[in-house]
Amino acid sequence: MAVCIAVIAKENYPLYIRSVPTQNELKFHYTVHTSLDVVEEKISAVGKSIGDQRELYLGLLYPTEDYKVYGYVTNSKVKFVIVVDSSNTSLRDNEIRSMFRKLHNSFTDVMCNPFHNPGDQIQSRTFDGIVSGMMVQTA
């Protein structure tokens, strides 16, 4: 269960950020923004990739004291960032990968919408629904 999910465009501005509303949203914004540095470092380190599915998943970017940040980059250099609570140790790597795959699929659906211009903020309700399904439920 994620605490914050963000979609970032190729030019490094946010297309979509959603976090658990009770928490300090500003902190998540800052965390995601800073994690972009690490993402860029990993991208440049990989070099020329063949477009393998495995290479799109960047793994744990860095752990802070409360949160773990995971990254995923698509072929069009759109980045997904998921922030997860550290206390939630039951989440394994595979689960994170499946979350990213779901995100990627729904993002592709959003892009397929002829009325959506790439580079705009994502306002699709279906996408919202999928993201809410992945976030921590506040009872």
Binding site: Y13, P14, E25, H29, H33, T34, D37, E41, S44
Partner: protein, 645 residues
């Protein structure tokens, strides 16, 4: 880490210098006071030796000592035990130092990384000032001997009727201070400290011939290597063209003026060298760079602004400067270095003999009694929180002393091997504070070794910092360790590790320290081969927040403005709003209302994604600031109007 003026070697060598104490008789002190300087202050600008000294190590190999610097302080015995944290007075002084050191306008460099164009200044002089002051105020501790006094200068003026009596008195005084066991500071390196006898002669007022005869007698009594005739005050007191004379003292006095504590010190009574029969004899003391209470009482008794710039050394000619320089050189090469050499040799002999003996005894007892501790290793109970406490004569401490002596005379190879042995002993005894000290110094000597035969042991430093922080809870030592290792890593180009170390040291107890370290970490990120610009910005914001908590508003504003360059117009609206809001608030507190208005305006211009309450708060702040600004502008225009009229 920002670029610093000092190189790493200079920094390390300046942090650990041989310490020399000064005890003056009353007349001698008065003689140097004619220049508005105490005797220790008089010597201070000349303490960096330009020529090379030589010293033989225990294997009789000649080592050269280049560019040695000694530090001379007046003797200021105090009864307070050294603490592991900074006193509030010291904190206040550090606060003032950082406050008074602001960036210069226009000293900016531009960095371009990816699609970011940043311009900010790459040097942080306030951090260097803080670091220097901090390293100088390190309290002397039990587990290391680097800032224990090696020697004592006993200064008597030649105008005394019976100089020898004065010398004897001073010598007894020093002996008493060292051995009476009442004073917890200053600490002395070896039981028989080197005593160097100085006859101070006032050329304009004294009798040259008489001084020479007294000096000849001294040479006979104390040996020609143990005394010196220093002639000063060639110019008589009075108004003269002072602007032609160089004044090297201002920079040192400026620092000690800043260092005098703001709060009232505990009452210390001042005794003169002539009075006797009191048990607690605290002699007069000259100004120290150490933050002790001595300073204010000295200043109070002077009642002249000795800290004021200018007017120092009024009675000294350039000839006198040369003489003082030569005196320091003579003292170091003829007195201090041979003393150190002799002690190194002694300790080495002791260790070799003891090691052989203890090892055989230890193995013998182990064989017979199966793992009992050998009687040679007499470790004293009680165990303190930092582990064991060693008695002063313990062999492990002897190794540490020898290592410290070698380090002070730049003999890094021998120092490293001694530290390594000491570390092993301490670790096996679980004496964590001592072990951490040995690890730290071993890493530093490995780094400073010329030719670098072994790679720099960064893990030593990491373990040392960890131990200081967690086991010993000594943040001051941990901070010093961090500062040194960060500089070393920076010189090797390992900015990422340096940044991690700096961030680890930030904690809740000291806002100023955390702020400075976070700022340095931010600079580290931006100085990497591929600059991590966003991390730089993030840490700048954290640093700005801590600065404002510590009360350093101008620094806070500067940090936020630098971070703003990264976030501007990038679409991260929440973050941008937050920064603009804080910039607006800070500028307003600093009376820069125009800047505040601009910052707030930016928040309101765009389509905001904030909540309604947040937007309401922004609007309210903007209106308030704008009202103040408008009133101010109206007043100004009215004044202009009146002027025109």
């Amino acid at each position: 880490m920002a670029q610093c003026v000092q190189s790493v070697q200079e920094l390390v060598q300046d942090s650990f210098t041989p310490m020399v104490a000064v005890l003056c008789s009353e007349t001698a002190e008065r003689m140097s006071r004619k220049n508005r300087l105490s005797f220790a202050e008089l010597l201070r600008p000349f303490c960096r030796l330009t020529s090379e000294g030589h010293i033989r190590d225990p294997n009789n190999v000649l080592q050269s000592v280049k560019g040695l610097r000694i530090s001379v302080n007046g003797l200021c015995p105090s009864l307070k035990p050294p603490s592991s944290t900074l006193t509030p007075a010291q904190r206040q002084v550090l606060h003032h130092i950082v406050l008074s050191s602001q960036p210069q306008e226009g000293a900016v460099s531009s960095i371009s990384a990816g699609d970011y164009q940043l311009s900010f200044s790459g040097t942080t002089p306030w951090f260097e000032a803080y670091r220097e002051a901090f390293l100088q105020t390190m309290p002397s501790s039990e587990h290391e001997f680097l800032n224990h006094y090696l020697a004592c200068l006993l200064v008597v003026s030649s105008s005394e009727t019976v100089p020898f009596e004065q010398f004897l008195k001073l010598s007894q005084e020093q002996h008493q201070i060292q051995h009476s066991g009442e004073y917890s500071s200053p600490k002395w390196f070896i039981p028989n400290t080197l005593k160097y006898y100085v006859l101070l002669h006032d050329v304009s007022q004294g009798d040259d011939h008489r001084a020479e005869t007294v000096f000849e007698d001294m040479k006979q009594k104390y040996g020609s290597q143990g005394c010196y005739l220093l002639k000063i005050n060639s110019r008589s007191e009075g108004p003269s063209d002072q602007d032609q004379m160089p004044d090297p003292w201002s920079q040192y006095l400026h620092k000690s003026y800043l260092h005098s504590p703001v709060s009232a010190p505990p009452p210390i009574s001042v005794f003169f060298a002539n009075s006797t029969k009191e048990h607690k004899r605290l002699t007069r003391f000259s100004a120290l760079p150490q933050l002790s209470a001595c300073d204010t009482s000295r200043r109070a008794s002077d009642s002249i602004t000795s800290g004021a710039p200018g007017g120092h050394g009024a009675c000294l000619t350039l000839n006198d400067h040369d003489r003082i320089r030569q005196f320091i050189q003579e003292f170091t090469f003829r007195g201090l270095l041979p003393h150190v050499e002799k002690n190194i040799r002694q300790l080495n002999d002791q260790l070799v003999s003891r090691k052989g003996l203890s090892r055989s005894l230890f193995t013998a007892t182990k064989k017979w009694f199966g793992g009992g501790k050998a009687p040679e290793k007499s470790v004293a109970e009680p165990k303190s929180t930092t582990g064991l406490l060693y008695p002063p004569e313990a062999p492990e401490l002897q190794i540490r002393k020898m290592a410290d002596l070698c380090f002070l005379v730049q003999h890094y190879e021998l120092a490293y091997s001694c530290y390594h042995t000491a570390k092993k002993d301490f670790l096996s005894d679980q004496a964590m504070l001592y072990a951490a000290g040995a690890l730290e110094m071993a890493a530093v000597s490995a780094f400073l070794q010329p030719g670098a035969p072994r790679p720099y042991p960064a893990h030593y430093m990491d373990t040392a910092i960890q131990t200081y922080k967690d086991t010993c809870r000594n943040m001051v030592l941990a901070e010093r360790c961090t500062l040194l290792s960060v500089d070393i890593l920076k010189s090797q180009g390992k900015y990422a590790e340096a940044a991690t170390l700096l961030i680890k040291m930030t904690s809740e107890d000291s806002d100023l320290r955390s702020a400075l370290l976070l700022e340095q970490a931010a600079h580290c990120f931006v100085n990497m081969k591929t600059p991590m610009v966003r991390k730089f910005a993030f840490h700048m914001i954290l640093a700005g927040h801590r600065f404002s908590k510590a009360g350093q508003r101008r620094h806070a504003l500067r940090c936020y403005c630098q971070a703003m360059q990264v976030y501007q117009d990038r679409g991260w609206s929440l973050a941008e709003d937050h920064i603009n809001f804080t910039i607006g608030r800070q500028s307003f507190t600093l009376q820069q209302t125009e800047k505040a208005v601009d910052a707030f305006k930016v928040i309101l211009e765009k389509e905001s994604q904030q909540t309604a309450t947040q937007q309401g708060a922004f609007l309210r702040e903007y209106l308030y600031v704008f009202k103040v600004f408008y009133r101010h502008m109206a007043l100004q225009s009215k004044l202009v109007f009146i002027k025109i009229k």
